[in-house]
Subunit: 319 residues, 6 copies
Amino acid sequence: MGKGIRFQQVGDRVETYYLIKTATKGVASNGKPFLTLILCDHTGDIEAKLWGCSPDDELAFCSQVIVHLQGEISEYRGRLQMKINSIRPTTAMDQVKVADFIRSAPISPDDMLEEITHYIFEMENANIQRITRHLVKKHQKAFLESPAATKNHHEFVSGLAYHVVSMLKIARSLSELYPSLDTDLLYAGVILHDLGKVRELSGPIDTSYTLEGKLLGHISIMVNELTAAASELKIEGEEVLMLQHLILSHHGKGEWGSPKVPVIREAEMLHMIDNIDAKMNMMDRALERVQPGEFSERIMAMDQRSFYKPSFHEPPLDV
Amino acid sequence: MGKGIRFQQVGDRVETYYLIKTATKGVASNGKPFLTLILCDHTGDIEAKLWGCSPDDELAFCSQVIVHLQGEISEYRGRLQMKINSIRPTTAMDQVKVADFIRSAPISPDDMLEEITHYIFEMENANIQRITRHLVKKHQKAFLESPAATKNHHEFVSGLAYHVVSMLKIARSLSELYPSLDTDLLYAGVILHDLGKVRELSGPIDTSYTLEGKLLGHISIMVNELTAAASELKIEGEEVLMLQHLILSHHGKGEWGSPKVPVIREAEMLHMIDNIDAKMNMMDRALERVQPGEFSERIMAMDQRSFYKPSFHEPPLDV
Amino acid sequence: MGKGIRFQQVGDRVETYYLIKTATKGVASNGKPFLTLILCDHTGDIEAKLWGCSPDDELAFCSQVIVHLQGEISEYRGRLQMKINSIRPTTAMDQVKVADFIRSAPISPDDMLEEITHYIFEMENANIQRITRHLVKKHQKAFLESPAATKNHHEFVSGLAYHVVSMLKIARSLSELYPSLDTDLLYAGVILHDLGKVRELSGPIDTSYTLEGKLLGHISIMVNELTAAASELKIEGEEVLMLQHLILSHHGKGEWGSPKVPVIREAEMLHMIDNIDAKMNMMDRALERVQPGEFSERIMAMDQRSFYKPSFHEPPLDV
Amino acid sequence: MGKGIRFQQVGDRVETYYLIKTATKGVASNGKPFLTLILCDHTGDIEAKLWGCSPDDELAFCSQVIVHLQGEISEYRGRLQMKINSIRPTTAMDQVKVADFIRSAPISPDDMLEEITHYIFEMENANIQRITRHLVKKHQKAFLESPAATKNHHEFVSGLAYHVVSMLKIARSLSELYPSLDTDLLYAGVILHDLGKVRELSGPIDTSYTLEGKLLGHISIMVNELTAAASELKIEGEEVLMLQHLILSHHGKGEWGSPKVPVIREAEMLHMIDNIDAKMNMMDRALERVQPGEFSERIMAMDQRSFYKPSFHEPPLDV
Amino acid sequence: MGKGIRFQQVGDRVETYYLIKTATKGVASNGKPFLTLILCDHTGDIEAKLWGCSPDDELAFCSQVIVHLQGEISEYRGRLQMKINSIRPTTAMDQVKVADFIRSAPISPDDMLEEITHYIFEMENANIQRITRHLVKKHQKAFLESPAATKNHHEFVSGLAYHVVSMLKIARSLSELYPSLDTDLLYAGVILHDLGKVRELSGPIDTSYTLEGKLLGHISIMVNELTAAASELKIEGEEVLMLQHLILSHHGKGEWGSPKVPVIREAEMLHMIDNIDAKMNMMDRALERVQPGEFSERIMAMDQRSFYKPSFHEPPLDV
Amino acid sequence: MGKGIRFQQVGDRVETYYLIKTATKGVASNGKPFLTLILCDHTGDIEAKLWGCSPDDELAFCSQVIVHLQGEISEYRGRLQMKINSIRPTTAMDQVKVADFIRSAPISPDDMLEEITHYIFEMENANIQRITRHLVKKHQKAFLESPAATKNHHEFVSGLAYHVVSMLKIARSLSELYPSLDTDLLYAGVILHDLGKVRELSGPIDTSYTLEGKLLGHISIMVNELTAAASELKIEGEEVLMLQHLILSHHGKGEWGSPKVPVIREAEMLHMIDNIDAKMNMMDRALERVQPGEFSERIMAMDQRSFYKPSFHEPPLDV
């Protein structure tokens, strides 16, 4: 398919397939209708304007339709834009399918589940292990599909599970360095900390917040789930409270959404591991298109910082 | 019994009964042991030093003992202190009982329960009404006894219920003024908002935070309770979510302990009514001993402000 | 006149009268001039573009002109926009008048004055009563016409008086609940707190800030007025100081425009009552067009929050 | 009299006169009463403990009494303390008077008045000149005696006038550098900016805040004075508004006590000149006792900073 | 050349020369390319759109080209815009040169250097004098050409030296007022404080940040320079440390870019003098086009404030 | 020697040796002198009061003296205190030496140096490797002895090197997880980030800040060292700039002491790894004496939080 949309630059000419992510109607200053399309492939997305569109066009070029397009990459107000030369909806003849156009984790859901299961298997405290296993099992399908966020970091299919798997690896190495850490609590905290997102977010495609997500948030949703799980499994004891505290405090501070600050070692570490993986993901994503000696786009969720790629580092790969 | 401890001033001589709230041993700079006693009656408390105490004294003058004391009110570093002239533990002969020395709400628990029940009875939405009634019933005894806090405001026996009853009255008059308010949601929010304190706090006397209180807090405790109640009563529907949101957001902001900000009208109002009653309680308490034309002690929970009683207002009553 | 502009939705066709609030000339990217009109009726306003306008059009379609228009409601960047099909200025023949197109308080100025007068009449402290009556009388006409703000809340004709009347009702019910409140001070504080706005704002229509408003603000303006009134009425005594303090501290904090924080009970309550009425007004206004189960537009002055209307609440009325 | 108290060090023996600034009774841990005396001379003050004092001592050693004392400078918790060896009240025979023990500005009130009058004389705008002259005249006596604050900076007799004279000199040189500054406005702003302190503070000795000071503050007091002065002098016009704005905004920000931020050049400069003189005064005062190569005590009003005197600077003079 | 671009108003017709500062290509909604030109003369700049430009136009109208233009000043979204009627590149025949179109300090570099040299000559401490002279000499050319910033204040050719010269004058008059200030340190601090900008910024024209500027900033660059200078000159002693501290702390606080707060008198004063000159420059620049009785544009770097020119002040001069 | 001072509890009787860390003279309220001693062994320290001490005692019991003591652990204002029954200075006969009483890293300096050298050896970029090796070599002795801080974390002999070794291990495992990290930059950043502390702090015993430390801080000191090292080694190129940026930004934000925020991946990670190791050290230290089911003392540098040890965790070991 040539190099992905994420790696194209001003002036590149393209002739390939894209999925329409969203299509919004507008009226130009000359009074004529136009469509603003967000086109994507598995590497990223780009905006395109379809000027002077007919009522038929509006029907043909809607969300989730795969199109074939000839065009050229231009720039508008500092962002790339696709200039459409010709565009048509695809048919069965084109032999393309939606799944090919969606970004997802670089590891398969099955492999991630196996890895997570392995960490659960290692746990020695039966209460912690049973609750963790129960909740993963209960939400297994959504857990393996869900993105970790609507934007910012791990905002792709299976992003949540991928985020968990990376964090587990950090958790393991920190536990080796700091023997005072309780690996059962820490692994369980990592696995469950964002699991409430399966109810906070609408799903893997065109992700938005659910009503419950907006009014309660994934932290409170998950504390509720934990309480219900413990009750169902008839588990009592301080482990339940510790797990609830891990979830509740993992954003670190009140102003970041945690009604309680961490007061056990594992909670403090969970918060920091979460930060590390989220930030590495954002920086890698921002820098992967950047040439050595140049700065990335600003990263909103990291105080609007623009990151630099040293001139003695490698240039980005084309995909 | 003469005027209460809260209304005594430097130079007053007392000869009366007090309850020992806490007794702490110390060693003076001359090397001799002494006891720091916090003495209370139903109006307030005062610190006293028992210098050069014997091992027998340490046993005799401990927490929850009622003593008979002759002394004089003095001042130390800007705070009143009781100078002990003579002190003895009481016996059955003195015919005094602990309950007489404890501060509690000015309305009886039965009257408050009746009033709260009346508001529940008025509710029109069956889901909201059933959940509210269920939770009040489940925690009825503790709810009617609990203080609303360990300090700051309504920090007395039945303080929580008294706080709720006052807030319900404000809620009713605001609802009359603003017909867009849903009284079912607002009343339920008021009644349940701090109910988690029955598990967050240790109980009505010498109140402290429980482990659960420290690690989860009354907000998350109560959201869990709500979820369990709805599940037990097999109630589904948006009312449950709204009630959870009311609890979750009633501190108003992340930095004040609410993981979500209010996004329904009733949640915003609940937060403001809570503030009004808490602040009026703190100001009234601080000003009740103050003479017209003078300033109160600083109120910690109100930005350390010291409040003024206009010189054309009434002087405090002796009790 | 059909339903008001505030209640119209995308796709609605309209044929009715509007008042031009503002008209601004622009140049389109094709080099031709156009007019951006803000059209209003008594329920709200909407933007419209008059493309390719002639010099005559520029003269005909200016601020304060009533027009007759045929058009359709469309959307541009998430905001409603009127698509003009035909438009003409009105003449005497149309028998329409500006007053019909202006939003104002739901109670008549006379009724509001009567209500406010009643509260003044109830005051027992002669100094407070005389000052309050004097200042209301002095600014009576402007007081009854002024909006309470240029935007955000009560930004309509007689909005200030309406805000005061609502606050007085809350003040009365809180005073019944908390007998320690001095109703004379509290009522006077409510009546006078924003009266400086009659000099801070330019008037009821197309409201802006006066020079005095920008350099002094309504708080300092009003403290000056109070001083002058007391001097003129030859009133001395602490009541004057208390009234000045009520005005000065009613924004609650330095960063919100109050050079002194409240240090009397009535000042603290005045600040909270002001908040309640302003916030209810903003929430009601934002939610009145919202369908059950949906979120409102963001409210700038309430931390950009978007409010939710529970799905079991009533849909908005058409007006 | 030997070197002043401000310049004495641990181990110095003293035999001289001091004024008792405050005397507070306490009870030692051995149950015996003692007096905490704050002793001062014209250079500074020091704490002393009079252990085991008799009722007669309490009467003899009270505020505003001059005593003769033999003692030694010691240290307690990082602060200097006077160890009293012998102490007696003075009589007429000692031929000492209170005025000798009080710190005041290094220039005489008459000289300062002459200097300020000179600046007023230079003003070209008659409105600004008349108002300034009127207010200085009205409060002349208090203005020339008042300290500029209760603590922090210029907290001595005539400190306010001294602060004004220093600021006028800075104002003059800035005006020479920046011709766009209106010297009439700037000089008037400097002269009047803190004049409200003559009503905010209780007077030159043992200064505290008046009720008016606590409830209104010197900024609002002065804006009121300005309004009254303009009215009395029948001056209208924008100059009055500008002068009010200068007063109102001279603390620079809402959180620093100014309800409006500066929006004219002269107001911004007034705020900065005020800062320069206050900070230089605090730093000079803190460093005047410090040896080269050492750090001063922390200055509370300058973010608790401790300042360093370079080792190549001069040592402090004895006085 | 008629009045400068900075002083032109909507409706003015112009026929004159401008320098193209930047030229950016865009695509209009009708699909045709256009150029956005920033045109400047020595008084300021203005945006212009060249609609429907040809490939030849793109080559002809690029950065640093001087053009001759006929047009009219219009307004777009509250900002002035040049409407182009005709435009052509200039040739040798036009006899215009780039230097005429660039804004620079009102004093010549030579005069400024002489003035600065004079202050260095006055220094009594040989270490401070030698280091200062060495660094000024080392960077002399860039120092005399550099702007003081990319925007906000002194953003013109030789702006840095002009800023230093103004600050030196303030420093001198403050030193006369406050004899405790060490003029050697203060003058050296003023001269060197922003000298790191010669490496932080790209140069006098179309100024941007260098890589070093973005990663280290002028403060750390200059501290390094100081260390190297002292080492090269074999100067040891506390003076070096004091000079480093002056540079390091001159932004006043951590959040303003200074890793250490000022802890010597001269450092605190340096920070305040810097502020005064920067703010006066911004206010003067904003107000120079404003008519008496009107407000300026908002100044971003001064909390978005808009400044007022009193109606009794002078109107702006045409240039 | 029995269990260390850090593990003793109220009521424990001790008869052992301690090192006097500091000795401060005071005067009791009965007028008699006393000494406040801070006694330490290799596990921690405790305060003791030596009442009624003679001038000989003052000479005998001074800093760095080893004493033999019989006493009992008591409590004063919530902190443990040693009640001295008998105390005597030691002589050669006691055969004790200062080194036995000082806390130091659990790994030997030689082993740590070997480990660090190993990481340097692994570096592939010659510029980075040479600069790192040069600086470690230059400061080797101080680097291996220095604490990492005066208090809070790693405040013991060799604490700095121990902190670096722990951080290197985390750096290695993160680099394995995130291949985009440049290990040369990250390892060099870890090794050098706090090396400036060898000049900021006074040394391993009774550590305080040097003048240079107070006026420049370890960040600026180290950036200077880096510049000098590169110059001496004649290394040019972006690696030097990157290393300087790593040092400069490792506190993460201006308000935390970094004049620039991290803008390369390795700088962001360096900041987070630093945090993790510092916080784990503080939490471990606070919890090591805490029984399961109890809370630790408050940790000042972690927002005054008190940490909980779950009741299913191990009790502390006696040492």
